[in-house]
């Protein structure tokens, strides 16, 4: 077999194939439900109801989507420049650490939130700077270095929580002190759990979209991602563009940690992120790296997780079905997107 480009893909092709990918994911979901001895359709229904069936469920889904929008944006920005930042998980924790350091009494007053956000972004950016410089200077593959940094960072967090940052009143649990009230993100509506981090995540998505489409830097990022050789030939400072991209990406991932700590948890613990950094990759790829699409896919993926949790409690299908479904959706979607652009021919 051979792949031949399709010059002008039809609308049916461009919309039908991704729809097929989603359908395939649902078929897999039903198959897994059958395996677990549950009714396939009821399981799908329970996931949907669990994610969107009530005001509480919707708010929970949006809360879960908030860090995913940030990490999804971080990945989308980096992947656009073909900078393979798989380290959003570590950058998220870098942001969370800074937020706790600044928010537990080091700073006070109304400035503490914006300052901790800014410093968190710097910390996340700094963490990605190392792998990027290793890539541009020495040609070290950033995939492996950013992946390895995730493990180092988790151990570092564990050290902090058992040592210097341990809450003396924590009854021995490895967690930090709680943030002071000024350092917490307020809720959007009183009494409902949704916090302002969600609104800021949407603003961030719009900001990234504006950068990508309206600014010279955005043009450079896209050019470097498509063809570093042509970008260099055209006089673009390729390495500087990669560094700027990294700063943006690391900063966005760190905001996920900032918003989780300041908006939801109020303190740092080892289980702050159940893999938001990795799930961000799925969110970004499903959105075809489009910043506004990231908002939609983050809510979709968050819905699968929240809905699966609820369904699992009711139907007894293991909650890990959510991880499997997102992985299947990712693989089906990248294949579907490819097939909108090429057709398979014999010979």
């Amino acid at each position: 077999m051979r792949l031949e480009p399709v010059a002008n893909p039809s609308t049916a092709r461009r919309l039908g194939l991704p729809a097929l990918a989603i359908a395939a994911t649902m078929v897999v979901a039903m198959g897994l439900a059958l395996l677990a001895g549950a009714s396939p359709l009821a399981t799908l229904g329970q996931i949907a109801v669990g994610a969107l069936g009530s005001k509480l469920a919707i708010l929970e889904t949006l809360n879960r989507a908030t860090p995913l929008i940030f990490t999804g944006l971080a990945v989308a920005v980096a992947f656009r420049a073909k900078l393979w930042n798989i380290g959003a998980e570590a950058q998220l924790y870098a942001g969370a650490i800074v937020t706790v350091l600044l928010g537990t009494g080091a700073l006070g007053g109304p400035l503490v939130l914006p300052v901790s956000a800014l410093v968190a972004m710097l910390a996340g950016a700094a963490l990605l700077l190392g792998p990027v410089l290793l890539k541009t200077r020495l040609g070290v593959d950033e995939v492996v270095t950013t992946l390895l940094l995730n493990f180092i960072m988790l151990l570092f967090v564990s050290y902090l929580l058992e040592g210097p940052m341990k809450d003396p009143m924590g009854m021995g649990w490895p967690k930090s002190q709680a943030l002071i009230p000024e350092a917490r993100l307020p809720r959007i509506v009183d009494g409902l759990r949704l916090h302002w981090g969600f609104a800021l995540a949407i603003l961030a998505a719009i900001g990234v979209w504006v950068i990508q489409t309206r600014t010279a830097l955005g043009f450079e990022i896209r050019a470097v991602g498509q063809s570093p050789e042509a970008a260099r030939f055209a006089g673009m400072p390729v390495n500087a563009v990669l560094v700027k991209t990294a700063l943006l990406s690391g900063g966005l991932a760190a905001l996920a940690g900032w918003s989780e700590v300041a908006g939801l948890k109020g303190l740092l613990s080892q289980d702050l992120s159940p893999g938001f950094g990795y799930t961000g990759i799925i969110v970004a790829m499903l959105a075809l790296l489009h910043p506004l699409g990231v908002v939609v896919t983050a809510v979709f993926v968050a819905g699968i997780f929240v809905g699966s949790d609820a369904m699992s409690r009711a139907a007894g299908v293991p909650t890990y079905i959510a991880d499997m479904l997102t992985a299947v959706a990712l693989l089906c979607m990248v294949l579907a997107i490819l097939l909108t652009k090429v057709r398979v021919v014999r010979g």
């Binding site: 290793l134 020495l138 995939v143 992946l147 493990f151 180092i152 058992e162 990795y278 293991p318």
Partner: protein, 314 residues
């Protein structure tokens, strides 16, 4: 210092080094085959998880130990088939597909585990491989203890030898080395680029899964979530460190295992009292990064690594 010397000359230390190196050797050889053929297989981490799980589950269900190894290998090859179908004929991003396969494989293991053992809090144990009693060798004073290893460890070293022999001594190895360098050359000689690359990824993934199964069938006796814990990514770094050569990669795995075994023992010394244990645990990952930096400019990367091949374009 004398403490470190004492550790380094003890036979039990080297027995641990060889034991720790075994899964790394298996998975590194698997990754090396893939990369030599031109495919970066980031599915490795998840494939090791699925190998650890399926091998253990098969034995717990009553298969003999080698049956568990075979089941693990089959499961790994199945995910290798998925990874290679998407990356070779379809030419999709090897980064994205690899991460997707890792997520799918490890979540499949978690899902299946919960499905089969819905209630248990601690996983059931199996009877793992026992160290082989080799006549004469086992009786030797120091070496006898250091080389008291399971059959799966011996198999890991045999696999490394077989990979080196195949790559450099057989027409198949010649074709593999060529397809990672210039697939057009392979195509022009009437060989199938797709077949070679997919075959390499499938066999390589099988080896990775056996590396994972080593953890449950030889090192420990049951399966835990997170037990692979980044070993797959370390193996990707080891391939780079070994310059894509089996011999050097094998040495790299042993060197790496030596550091790992050393850090475990150092935790028990007064150094361990002073320094946080997390630093010791982070050492393998820090060393991997250092290894990558060290080898960055020296190794000869297969020229067509991560470059998909489509017949139509020349």
């Amino acid at each position: 210092m004398s403490e470190i010397v004492d550790i380094l000359i003890s036979a039990s230390f080297w027995a641990a080094v060889i034991r720790i190196a075994s899964p790394l050797i298996l998975a590194t050889m698997g990754e090396l085959i893939c990369e030599r053929a031109g495919v970066l297989n980031l599915g490795i981490e998840g494939i090791m998880v699925i190998g650890a799980f399926t091998g253990w589950m098969a034995v717990w269900q009553g298969l003999p130990l080698w049956g568990g190894v075979a089941v693990a290998m089959g499961a790994g090859m199945l995910f290798g088939l998925l990874q290679s179908t998407l990356t070779v004929p379809f030419g999709l991003s090897q980064h994205v597909v690899g991460l997707g396969v890792t997520l799918l494989a490890s979540s499949t293991a978690s899902f299946a585990y919960r499905l089969m053992l819905p209630e248990v809090t601690s996983p059931p144990k199996i009877e793992p491989f026992r160290p082989l009693d080799i006549p004469l060798l086992s009786a030797l004073p120091w070496a006898g203890e250091a080389l008291s290893q399971t059959a799966l460890t011996w198999a890991a070293f045999a696999v490394a030898g077989a990979v080196a022999w195949t790559l450099y001594r057989t027409p198949l190895g010649l074709a593999l080395r060529a397809v990672g360098e210039n697939p057009a050359a392979v195509e022009a000689q009437g060989l199938s680029v797709t077949g070679l690359r997919m075959g390499a990824v499938i066999v390589g993934s099988g080896l990775m899964a056996v590396g994972g199964a080593f953890l449950t069938l030889s090192a420990f006796s049951s399966f835990f979530f997170g037990m692979v814990n980044g070993r797959g990514w370390i193996c990707v770094a080891l391939v780079v460190f070994g310059g894509w050569k089996p011999g050097k990669a094998l040495l790299g795995a042993i060197l790496f295992a030596a550091f790992d075994a050393l850090q475990i023992r150092l935790q028990q010394t007064e150094l361990g009292a002073v320094l946080p244990y997390q630093l010791f645990l982070a050492l393998p990952f820090i060393l991997s990064i250092l290894a990558l930096i060290l080898m960055s400019r020296r190794a000869e990367v297969p020229a067509a690594l991560m470059v998909p091949y489509n017949k139509g374009e020349r």
